[in-house]
């Protein structure tokens, strides 16, 4: 499910339509001002905010704004009084307080835009910049803005802003990175991991951190230190070789003021490469006098004061999270996410099925099950299965979502196909089979099946029942 970065900026959603199953009373926009951008000023006093032409203030409590404007410092804390938590996280925010809270800026990137002044002109500029975002907010299904599931809120927040959930260097955290979205959606990282397991977000490598083995903090002071006393007062010094008498020692043994005098034969060393040479250098510890070519590298944890060699440290990968096509489709559908099976493959399959079912779209799932032939070693079998999986993904991705699963010891490969293609897939199944197996020297036994919506619902229902019992 690859998507270019630019495409994330222009996620085109269809006009909002109420989900068929939605029975909840959602906040509404003012019908008579549908063309104007509705602005909610927080705090919402008459003296606050200069509203430009083409925009209007939200009049009624409960009306859903297009944009939130924070007019005072720390007004973000008041958002919960005005909006449901999900809407507060999804709707774009402009900070016009003019406060440059550097200290808090490390922690809270709540606002999408910061303005130094709250003039009508600057606000108008800001609204122009945020117009695509506002359009995407307006295109969201109503249940999304009122969702109580923070996973949906996080997905919608990313869709509306058309960006990844990006980590940012942040020394105020033990992890040394933070996610700005966590200030709007608490526990965003945990939620993102769950969404990644469901295939709605995709993990991309950002960085690898070394961490303290005791407290897991990434705030480490790393530097060279003496291998003998672990002191850090190290200095690099040349080794001098007196060619005539073979005396060889660190430079300070030879140094007397500005002269170099051999400690062995007391001769003055005057000409480089005639009298003496500098064949290398050493690290001298000024604490204990230990000399070595390479100093060790050690760390001190800034949080728990543990000291040690860098060999002892742990490592943690930091990911950025990119929303997948499936994630965008899920937000568009407005369907709530179900509680998972605990099996990532089944969870993703159910997410797909429930989304397509709720949207009333036909779909089918192609399932391929491999069978291990007799007299095939475990190693060869694993290699064959892995290669088959690669071929399967190449055949269907990126247009189609694919899944790998293992049931018992049997590998399963699933292609989640949107649209009413069941008959068509069944017709070309022999071609699919041939394309997949012709590259394999020893093709494994493979069973293929195509399931329509009702069959998939029955299968998943059976799985849930099995899980319940």
């Amino acid at each position: 499910m690859s998507r270019s970065a630019s495409s994330t900026q222009t996620v085109a959603l269809p006009p909002r339509s109420e989900a068929p199953s939605s029975k909840v009373q959602h906040p509404t926009r003012g019908k008579e001002f549908a063309d104007k951008i509705s602005v909610l000023c927080i705090p919402n006093g008459p003296e606050h905010g200069s509203i430009p032409e083409g925009a209007r203030k939200v009049r009624e409590r409960g009306e859903m704004p297009d944009v939130v404007v924070l007019t005072e410092a720390n007004a973000a804390r008041l958002m919960a009084d005005y909006l449901p938590a999900s809407a507060a996280a999804i709707i774009p925010v402009i900070d016009t307080s003019g406060e440059d809270h550097r200290e808090s800026a490390w922690r809270c990137e709540f606002a999408d835009l910061r303005l130094k002044g709250a003039s009508a002109f600057s606000l108008n500029e800001a609204l122009c910049i945020l117009k695509p975002t506002i359009d995407r907010v307006r295109a969201l299904p109503a249940p999304v803005l009122a969702a109580t599931d923070p996973r949906i809120t996080l997905l919608a927040r990313l869709v509306v802003r058309g960006r990844d959930m990006e980590p940012k260097r942040d020394p105020s955290f033990r992890e040394t990175v933070s996610y700005s979205d966590a200030s709007a959606v608490p526990g965003a990282l945990t939620l993102a991991e769950e969404l990644a397991r469901l295939g709605l977000l995709e993990r991309k490598f950002f960085d690898k951190l070394i961490t303290c083995p005791r407290c897991d903090s990434a705030r480490l002071c790393v530097r060279e230190r003496c291998g003998a006393c672990h002191g850090t007062d190290l200095v690099e010094e040349a080794v001098i070789h007196h060619l005539r008498c073979s005396a060889q020692a660190p430079e300070h043994d030879f140094r007397q003021g500005t002269s170099l005098i051999c400690p062995k034969c007391r001769l003055h060393l005057e000409h480089f490469s005639v009298d003496y040479d500098r064949p290398g250098s050493v690290m001298l510890c000024r604490n204990c006098g230990h000399i070595s070519t390479d100093a060790g590298v050690g760390f001190t944890c800034l949080d728990c004061d543990k000291e040690g060699d860098t060999d002892e440290t742990g490592a943690r990968i930091v990911w950025r999270y990119r929303i997948t096509e499936a994630g965008i489709a899920h937000v568009k559908s407005g369907v709530p996410l179900l509680k998972g099976f605990g099996n990532p493959a089944l969870d993703r399959l159910e997410t797909f099925v429930s989304r397509e079912k709720a949207a009333g779209r036909p779909f089918c799932v192609l399932v391929c099950r491999l069978t291990r032939p007799q007299n095939v070693s475990q190693r060869l079998w694993e290699q064959t299965s892995a290669l088959f999986g690669e071929l399967f993904r190449e055949m269907f991705a990126p247009q189609t979502e694919t899944l790998d699963a293992i049931v018992g010891t049997t590998p399963l490969f699933l292609a989640l196909l949107g649209g009413d293609h069941k008959n068509e897939v069944e017709r070309v199944l022999s071609n699919i089979r041939m394309d997949l197996e012709r590259h394999l020297k020893d093709p494994p036994g493979a069973d293929y099946a195509v399931f329509g919506p009702d069959e998939m619902m029955r299968i998943l229902g059976g799985q849930r029942l099995k899980g319940a019992t």
Partner: protein, 289 residues
């Protein structure tokens, strides 16, 4: 037949000589070679049997010991040498390694061994100096009161270091001890077998004999131990080849006692071909003179 004829005539000539003339012709052989190869064997055997007074077992009150390893392109032998040292019955020592301008993996191996804690200090020199200068640097970096110089391609009997240190530890007058070097690859070729016999005669036997007469004149640079104070008093090794011979002479001239211990056994590889042997011996003779 010609050979037999010459032999018979020579024998007749020698037999007809008066006794004084016989001695005048062979005085050098009688004075130098016979004691070495005949009297030496007898004396050494007798000494070894009658007063082999060296006590065996652990040595007590050992001063700090540093082992100096200087090598150039020793990637094949360095690690086994270091591990062999750590399997010694006496292993309370530090190892100081100097990579003398190697262009192979010698220093990488040193660093790995240092990380494992088997080597205390590892220093890399970008330019190759010479073995004496490398040993001088290693001695400067070492902290021990006794310096043990070892070639990287050596391996040892388990008690080799203990027995090497014993004379220095137990006899304060001893400043240097030469170890016993035997041939490891003696079965590789006839050349190595002959060298093994030669090492037995010249080092094991010859130096044992010299030791009885207090005439040890060379502590081999491949395997020897030195007191640091004596080392520093004669300012370490000098430039050029034959540095071990030169260094031992200077120690003796300074009044120090130098001994050989035949119980401290180290093994080394010798040249396997005649050509390699000739080159080695040419180098040795050139360095000595």
């Amino acid at each position: 037949m010609i050979g037999v004829d010459i032999f018979v005539r020579t024998w007749e000539f020698l037999g007809s000589l008066p006794e004084g003339a016989f001695i005048a012709i062979f005085w050098l052989t009688i004075l130098a070679e016979l004691p070495r190869y005949f009297v030496g064997v007898q004396a050494t055997a007798a000494a070894a049997l009658l007063h082999d007074d060296q006590p065996r077992g652990p040595i007590q009150h050992v001063p700090s010991v540093s082992i100096l390893l200087v090598g150039h392109n020793e990637e094949k032998s360095l690690e086994s040498c270091v591990r062999s040292l750590h399997n010694q019955t006496f292993n309370q020592f530090e190892i100081v390694c100097v990579d003398d301008g190697s262009n192979d993996q010698t220093f990488a191996i040193m660093r790995r061994l240092q990380r494992e804690g088997l080597i205390r200090t590892a220093v890399r020199l970008e330019l190759r100096g010479s073995k004496p200068s490398g040993i001088n640097l290693a001695a400067r970096l070492a902290r021990g009161d006794i310096l043990v110089v070892i070639d990287c391609d050596c391996s040892f009997e388990p008690d080799a270091i203990q027995e090497l240190l014993r004379p220095i530890v137990e006899r304060p007058s001893v400043a240097a001890v030469s170890g016993n070097i035997l041939v490891r690859n003696w079965q590789r070729s006839i050349t190595t077998s002959l060298q093994a016999i030669e090492y037995l005669l010249s080092i094991s036997l010859g130096k044992t004999y010299a030791n009885i007469l207090d005439q040890v004149w060379c502590v081999s640079g491949a395997f020897g131990a030195f007191r640091r104070d004596a080392w520093e008093r004669v300012f370490g090794m000098d430039t050029g080849g034959g540095e071990d011979f030169d260094f031992t002479i200077r120690l003796r001239l300074a009044g120090y006692k130098v001994v050989f211990t035949r119980h401290s056994i180290c093994y080394t590889d010798v040249p396997e071909t005649l050509y390699a042997l000739l080159r080695q011996r040419h180098r040795w003779e050139r360095d000595t003179f």
